[in-house]
């Protein structure tokens, strides 16, 4: 039984429209939803949180059709879901009272509440903040408290809208680990949105992408479709584009789709001899900075993305229009 089964959903506000033909979410799975601002990630989560009533279509939650007009059953369903809002708001109360809130509204009382609250605050290293009020917290602390307020609940679904936004870089890994641990311990469905492809990859094998209000399977960087040939000496290669041959380490003959992780690509000013079977001469078309890493788009007959650190970028002194060599191992080419 799927946790969610969405069928022919339409929901709109002003000029924005959410359109989901068919979409299922299973338990014991982490889903990462990628997409630019305004693509509908938050609307999707509001819909999954059963806070928005769709204009058309059906939502099945844990096998039953959700009746948005029946307050009581809707509330029961909503209470199986824990939802972290984007840029969350902390009530003007102590950290402890904030974390208690979801338990209190569910009718938990006394010792049971304190036991759970102390447990999650301890696990998230927030115990020292327990008596502070919301206004006394830094942005990163507030985000972690808000996450604790959600994770303290024993839910079947956790909806996390950009859980590591506003958090300093050092805490990102910790929070990701806490989310992964929660999946292990609860077998819940965890659906999180993120801007970062890297984070999506780290967290999940089920990456969805939102584009203009509709859900699509994620399209990877450096995804190519071509035909795989096995030569006499066992060397396998795929021809993509008009004149590019990419060596791969395995696979059988026929049409395939492959992806190459941009982080596996090595850039150099000169050609150098190495064990990498793939080496191409190309021209830098685009340079984008994403904090510590730089994304480069290089044309080798087809466009290829490569990710390098800020440091090596500066060291190499690269510019748009420059010619570079790129190389990667045959084993870095993943066949989908």
């Amino acid at each position: 039984m799927s946790v969610y089964d969405l069928q022919a959903i339409q929901w709109s506000i002003k000029s924005f429209q959410l359109n989901i033909e068919k979409c299922r979410f299973e338990k014991d799975t982490i889903y990462a939803v990628l997409g630019p601002n305004g693509s509908g990630k938050t609307s999707l989560l509001n819909l999954l949180a059963l806070l928005y009533k769709p204009n058309a279509g059906t939502v099945f939650f844990q096998g039953s059709r959700v009746d948005f007009n029946h307050d009581e059953s809707l509330l029961t369903a909503r209470r199986r879901i824990a939802y972290l809002l984007q840029s969350p708001y902390l009530f003007n109360m102590s950290v402890r009272d904030n974390v208690r809130y979801g338990l209190k509204v569910r009718g938990y009382k006394g010792r049971q509440v304190e036991f759970k609250v102390d447990g999650i605050l301890d696990r998230m290293h927030l115990s020292h903040l327990v008596d502070r009020t919301a206004s006394e917290l830094s942005g990163g602390e507030a985000q972690r408290v808000a996450l604790a307020r959600v994770l303290v609940l024993d839910a079947d679904v956790y909806l996390l809208d950009e859980p590591t936004a506003n958090v300093d870089k050092e805490s990102v890994h910790g929070i990701e680990q806490i989310i992964l641990d929660r999946k292990q311990s609860s077998r819940a469905a965890i659906i999180m949105t993120t801007h970062s492809q890297d984070q999506a990859r780290r967290m999940s094998e089920n990456i969805l992408s939102m584009v203009d209000g509709s859900v699509q399977d994620f399209s990877y960087d450096n995804a190519f479709t071509g035909t795989l040939h096995v030569q006499g000496d066992g060397l396998r290669s795929i021809s993509v584009g008009s004149n590019v041959q990419i060596a791969v380490s395995h696979g059988s003959e026929g049409p395939v789709t492959v992806v190459i992780d941009p982080r596996e690509i090595i850039l150099s000013r000169e050609k150098f001899s190495s064990s990498a079977l793939n080496a191409f001469h190309g021209t830098i078309r685009k340079i984008e900075s994403h904090g510590e890493v730089i994304h480069l788009t290089v044309s080798i007959g087809v466009l290829l993305s490569a990710t390098i650190t800020q440091r090596s970028f500066q060291h190499m002194g690269l510019n748009v229009g420059q010619n570079v060599w790129i190389s990667f191992k045959a084993s870095a080419v993943r066949i989908l």
Binding site: L84, L85, F91, Y101, S135, R149
Partner: protein
């Protein structure tokens, strides 16, 4: 000038002796003002929240009306209710005129717009994410409503205190609807008016001191809440 000093001297005696009539008069004022404010709070809070949050046609006009009614003259309320409650009026048969109930009703009408207006402005000043946050954590719509009230608690208390201060010090409604009946509906303000017209100042001054003390206390409370509101930035 001597009669003024004499009045003040006697006033202190009255207060220190806790004269029975004096105590009753203060009690009537507190009881009527407290009841009317409590009722107005119970009715006005939900209406204020609704006015602040619901989008409907005529909302802006309603807000303007409420804000105008916040400075409703007491004698106008007295006049309106008198005409309704008097023997010839539509509710004359209830026999409410010159009772504490009539005074409470009048003060309720006076303070209701104040509570609604101030509650609405306190709720409108809240972060728009409060309601959604409560719902996202599993609150029912009632629980979310109480979360709103709790977030606006300082503003709500300020509204209630301001309302209490207004009715505690009013004289028009108490006089016209209570009738200033000794030992029954006579309260602080109507006594002061009567004693002054009789040329007797002692009791009036004593009661005036009580009024001033209460007004001072109310303002002190208000100021402390406003300070808190500013600090938490609601």
């Amino acid at each position: 000038m001597d009669y003024i000093w004499e009045g003040i001297r006697q006033a202190f005696f009255i207060i220190l002796r806790l004269d029975k009539e004096f105590a009753w008069i203060v009690f009537v004022s507190i009881r009527v003002a407290f009841t009317s404010t409590l009722l107005a709070t119970l009715v006005g809070c939900p209406l204020g929240v609704m006015l602040a949050r619901k989008r409907f046609r005529g909302r802006q006009a309603l807000l303007t009306i409420v804000n105008t009614l916040m400075s409703l003259p007491t004698v106008v309320v007295g006049l309106m209710l008198y005409s309704v409650l008097s023997r010839r009026g539509p509710l004359g048969s209830l026999g409410l005129l010159y009772t504490l109930t009539a005074m409470i009703l009048g003060q309720f009408i006076l303070v209701l717009p104040i509570v609604i207006g101030l509650v609405a402005s306190a709720i409108r000043g809240l972060d728009e994410r409060v309601n959604r946050t409560a719902l996202s954590l599993g609150a029912s719509s009632w629980q979310a409503f109480f979360a709103l009230l709790r977030e606006a608690r300082h503003g709500l208390l300020a509204a209630v205190i301001a309302g209490f201060g207004r009715v505690f010090a009013e004289v028009g409604i108490s006089m016209m609807l209570g009738g200033n009946i000794r030992g029954y509906t006579r309260n602080i303000t109507t006594t002061i008016a009567l004693e002054t017209s009789k040329g007797e100042f002692a009791l009036g001054i004593a009661l005036g001191l009580v009024l001033l003390t209460v007004a001072f206390g109310v303002n002190l409370l208000l100021a402390s809440f406003q300070k808190r509101i500013r600090r938490v930035g609601i």
